[in-house]
């Protein structure tokens, strides 16, 4: 059972983690020092370098989790559910960070923590949807039913995102009391800014992949421990045959 080759962290993951750290460091340098301040937003633009990658990865995480869920429904392998769950946890974390980031951004620009900005509204709804996913997970004991039902929920969540985006966008268009883009897209990007942003997106994506890999690795280990029927498995049992 406790085969060290399975419990030890694979070497590639450690190397990948170190590379990730380096990329994030360079990204941080770019965001804090290299990037010029924005004409309109000044140094506030530096928040954008963290905010935008986090937001993008949050949305991608929901899609990835839904794809793992579909794979589970198709193949029925427990590991796909572990992957879906781990990715969903990341989706929750990243979308909460996005909402917090959006609110930090909106306080100095609009002097209010909350604005019905389309993307911010959409992300808040996504937080609610993913929280619902975890509530249902917590309520189902049987691991297979839990995996199936949560895969189904994630598929519905994924399908709801474009509609929620449209609705949030139009909601704002009809009530644009104050509208400032909270994602920096209103900013005319100078090439340095764009490079720094893309670097930070890469760094953020690598952090995401690193944590997901660790999460799945741990999930795989606890999956192995979960086989409580192993004690009876392997014992040769006769087939009760009524012919």
């Amino acid at each position: 059972m406790t085969d060290t080759s399975r419990t030890r962290r694979p070497r590639w993951l450690t190397v990948f983690g170190l590379v990730t750290l380096a990329v994030v460091g360079v990204g941080l340098y770019g965001a804090l020092i290299m990037s010029p301040p924005d004409v309109n937003q000044g140094d506030l633009i530096r928040v954008m370098y963290a905010h935008v990658p986090v937001a993008w990865i949050g949305f991608a995480a929901v899609a990835v989790s839904a794809v793992w869920g579909m794979l589970y429904l198709w193949r029925g392998r427990a590991i796909d559910d572990v992957r879906a769950q781990g990715t969903a946890e990341a989706a929750l974390l990243y979308s909460i960070l996005t909402v917090v980031g959006g609110m930090t951004y909106s306080k100095p620009t609009l002097n209010t923590y909350w604005t019905w900005d389309a993307k911010l509204t959409l992300t808040a709804l996504m937080v609610a949807l993913v929280v619902g996913y975890f509530i249902v997970r917590a309520l189902i004991d049987d691991p297979q039913r839990r995996a199936r039902v949560s895969a189904v929920i994630m598929i519905v969540v994924l399908a709801s995102l474009p509609f929620n985006y449209l609705a949030a966008e139009w909601f704002r268009t009809l009530h644009p009391a104050k509208s400032v883009n909270l994602d920096g897209s209103g900013v005319t990007m100078d090439p340095t800014m764009l490079r720094v942003l893309l670097l930070n997106v890469l760094g953020g994506a690598m952090v995401f992949v690193y944590f997901i890999s660790e999460r799945i690795r741990i999930g795989r280990l606890s999956l192995a421990d979960d086989k409580t029927f192993d004690s009876v498995k392997g014992v040769a049992r006769e087939v009760v045959s009524v012919r």
Binding site: D141, D142, P143, F229, V232, R237, V239, V240, V242, R243
Partner: protein, 231 residues
């Protein structure tokens, strides 16, 4: 005994299943040839109902493989469902419909009589649902709401549905519970007649005085696995 075919009505290979996180079935191996009558014993909570619901495709096996008439229950549940019927402990009828409406519902959702299969006399007995209803002694109560039925009557209605659909595999969960003496005799007759028509009957029962049914085998579920009774 009956027929010379080797077709297996039930085939379970290392089937496991949890209920509420705990493993109830821990590797069940079973083969039942078509046309046999098998009685399943076991004390309360050993997983008899779980096994029956699993065979009826309502629960999926957590591990192992399960087949009914060769149809994989996980992958091809619909094909298996077309050939089996389950009489649950409570009868499984809608309380706010009448007995007759419950049967109408079942008939409308079943794909129609299978070709070649001999229908039960009661199902063939006349138009509508009089046959099965009379067969279980519910003709007087047919147009009353099931809500007003006693638990024995609900069970009889479940039996009437089984007679109406007359599936190839009869799964009976504690069929004698809640029945009066007359009802028990009725159940005996139906089971015997079904077996005579070539149906396979798999019955979970506590009743030990049903030996006159002449089951082909009595098996026991204990500790999550199956064995021959008494073995």
């Amino acid at each position: 005994m009956s027929g010379g075919t080797d077709e297996l009505a039930i085939e379970l290979r290392e089937v496991t299943r949890r209920m509420g996180g705990e493993y109830v079935l821990r590797g069940v191996n079973l083969e039942v040839a078509a046309g046999r009558l098998v009685v399943l014993r076991g004390s309360n909570g050993t997983g008899k109902t779980t096994l029956l619901r699993l065979l009826a495709t309502r629960l999926r096996p957590a591990g192992g493989q399960a087949f009914v008439f060769g149809h994989d229950l996980t992958r091809d549940g619909a094909a298996a469902r077309a050939r089996l019927g389950l009489l649950s402990v409570m009868g499984g009828s809608f309380p706010l419909l009448t007995g007759r409406e419950n049967l109408e519902l079942a008939a409308a959702l079943a794909p129609g009589p299978r070709e070649g299969a001999p229908r039960s006399d009661m199902a063939a007995g006349g138009a509508g649902f009089e046959g099965p209803l009379a067969g279980v002694g519910l003709e007087q109560a047919a147009d009353k709401l099931v809500r007003t039925y006693s638990s024995g009557m609900k069970k009889r209605l479940g039996l009437a549905r089984l007679l109406l659909l007359d599936p190839d595999l009869w799964l009976l969960d504690e069929p004698y519970a809640a029945l009066d003496d007359l009802g028990k005799r009725l159940m005996d007759e139906c089971v015997t007649a079904a077996k005579a028509r070539g149906r396979t009957v798999f019955m979970a029962s506590h009743e030990s005085d049903r030996d006159h049914l002449g089951p082909d085998a009595v098996i026991e579920l204990r500790g999550g696995t199956l064995r021959m009774f008494g073995a």
